[in-house]
């Protein structure tokens, strides 16, 4: 080995090729097999896609870096399952480009925070967490309530995601901007359209508590209220447990 290296280090190109060869093996062995989807990701026929409003909320979540403090991945440990709910399944982040599993819990895991609190709680909490939780170290996000959500490019967002394999239909793409507004204005024609395209279980509410065009706060709360509710796979009793 030492003799071989002694020769290798006299040839730059050979050294380069050796480094590439030796370093690629690990990634190839570990990553390539994961793309055989059916063995990596379980089936969940009821898995639904994010609505345009929820998707926009997810993008706000990314933009503000909520994932710097919050994970969305409940591990298969007993205490985590008891604290946050059933452990996270691979299929639940199947459509997440990119995933938001996170690596740091300065705040609690959010994988199943949907429906844990009311919309009003979330709105007030995001505007200033310390009005509800005085000891919180979470930042205040007052500008979300003031900023109108950009909806005109939502069809493009859905189109790109469809290219990547997220099953958005033509109708979903064509109505994306209207659906975003509709989901935040219940009891209108546009609101019925959302339920029709995305299922009856979709939350159609005035998330930020203020009427008018949807704000970024509407979108973010809609997203949070959906977390953990895209499929019921984790509610099946057989899957419960952990170590």
């Amino acid at each position: 080995m030492f003799k071989f290296h002694y020769k290798l280090e006299t040839k730059a190109i050979a050294l380069v090729l050796a480094i590439i060869g030796v370093s690629s093996i690990g990634g190839l062995v570990e990553i390539a097999p994961l793309f055989t989807i059916d063995q990596t990701v379980e089936e969940a026929p009821d898995m639904r896609v994010l609505t345009p409003l929820e998707l926009a909320g997810r993008n706000v979540y990314i933009r503000e870096g909520c994932n710097a403090c919050h994970s969305q991945m409940i591990r298969t440990l007993r205490d985590e399952v008891e604290r946050y709910g059933a452990y996270s399944r691979a299929v639940e982040s199947q459509y997440d480009h990119p995933m938001l599993w996170g690596s740091k819990r300065t705040g609690p895991d959010l994988a199943r925070v949907g429906n844990k609190y009311s919309d009003a709680w979330h709105a007030a909490h995001l505007i200033n967490p310390r009005t509800l939780v005085p000891q919180s170290v979470m930042p205040a996000y007052p500008w979300l309530a003031r900023t109108r959500l950009r909806t005109d490019d939502l069809p493009l967002h859905l189109t790109r995601l469809r290219t990547l394999g997220v099953p958005y239909t033509d109708a979903m793409i064509a109505n994306a901007a209207a659906d975003a507004a509709g989901q935040a204005t219940p009891n209108t024609d546009r609101a019925w359209g959302v339920a029709e395209r995305y299922g009856e279980a979709t939350n159609v509410r005035d998330f930020d508590g203020a009427t008018g065009a949807p704000t970024e706060l509407d979108a973010l709360v809609a997203y949070l209220q959906m977390l953990g509710r895209q499929t019921s796979i984790a509610e099946e009793p057989a899957a419960e447990g952990g170590e």
């Binding site: 990553i31 990701v41 710097a68 298969t76 399944r89 740091k104 919180s136 997220v166």
Partner: protein
Amino acid sequence: MVSELTTGQRQMALTFLAMLALLGLFVAAFGRADPIGGHGWLVLVFSLLSLFAVLTNYYDPEPAADRSAAYYDAPVKAGIIIAMIWAVIGMFVGAWVAWLLVNPDLTFVEEAWASFGRLRPVHTTAVIFGFGGNALIATSFYVVQRTSRTRLAGHLSPLFVLWGYNLFCLLAVTGYLWGINQSKEYAEPEWYADLWLVIVWVAYFVLYLRTLARRKEPHIYVANWYYLAFILVVAVLHIVNGLALPLSWAQAKSYSLFAGVQDAMTQWWYGHNAVAFFLTAGFLGMMYYYLPKRAERPIFSYRLSIISFWGITFFYMWAGSHHLHYTALPHWVQTLGMTFSVMLLIPSWASAGNALLTLNGAWHKVRDDATLRFMFIAAVFYGLSTFEGSFMAIRSVNALSHYTDWTVGHVHAGALGWVAMITFGAIYASVPWLWKRKTMWSPALVEVHFWLALAGTLIYVFAMWNSGIIQGLMWRTYNESGTLAYSFLESVEAMHPYYIARAVGGSFFLLGALVACYNIWMTIRAPQPAGALQDDHPQERTDPVLEAGR
């Protein structure tokens, strides 16, 4: 720097900058409804300022005809100064986010850009890529010339690499503040910044290879193996993990090609190996040159160098999945990640041991010379944090440590103790060599910096070990009735004193970096004493310290 270029090269630089300015203008115009428009303006202004700088020196005398006989150190000098600027920015923001976790209302302004989630990636990017990256580029330029006894292969391309790389860093950091963020850890910049970095990186690689091809030494010195691995593997990681589909050419937002589990595995294959090949291999390259040079003793064992190098190159790439224990990632991948992480200890300690044994016999120098002591402490922290890393990769340990401050403590034992210390050592060694001074302006201030840095690191790391382990235990403790004993909020409250301690330790570290800046500034500015060092020309024969290290 312009004075190092011929008129023809100056014209090329001007043409290139004008074209880039034009590109910036296009992006600013077509992307005006999108955050990307701001980046168009940034490129435009940055290019125009550089254009202006070249123009004002355009009529400087041409460089001497025999310039190729000397080493090309202008980009090295610039790189070191820029690295120190990024160090101050990055550590300042680090201290700021540390204080934000003590008191979240310390944002001063109620603006989006000043919130924790946006500032945190500014901190990580500014210290890793700004400070670390510029230090790596500058020292690699320095080292490859000395160990190959030849001048860098190009006049414009080293400047392009440095300039282009810093444009990337600026795009990254300003992007987060404006809300442009891909959310992939340590790969947060969006697609266009990623593409730009690919161009810069290819230029860097070609330059490095061409310089090696000109070497007057039959053998490639060990420091260059590491620098090469750093350049190559970072390119592969960056390209694969960054694959994404932009909304359109005039919008910043893109969607990653990967989703869910596959994305998680790709991301941590990237993330862990960014640590391995950026923050470890690159800085090992630094260590393998500056430590023996400063101690004036050859590397202890050539064979250990070889074992360590190939071990690191092979094992690290398997280890990423230890970031995903107990998650939805298939079990066999987690187990592989854990196994290889534990085996990684062997090549890691081979390098740490090699460094420490090199110092064996020069302990009086370590005692008297703070610069060498920086490198010594760096090797110690390298050994400690790789041990800790292998330990934390064990599934059952990771069950406790993951998601907690323990990880942050581990990261900073490596980042402050290893990366920053070896860099400060290398910078203190090379500044007098580069500017032809006998020593730094004030060796006493180097000493002050050393103790500030060491105290800061220890306070930081101990605070995070404590808070991390307490946090982990509180989350999993049950009371007699079999229910969880603590609410999440109680664990948040328990962190408070440790967050104060961490912020204080971090502030010490920042203060040290400021002292370093002042000292470097004065070394450059102070008049030159007689008998200054001359290492600016290739020597006739191999450097004995490097020769014997083989």
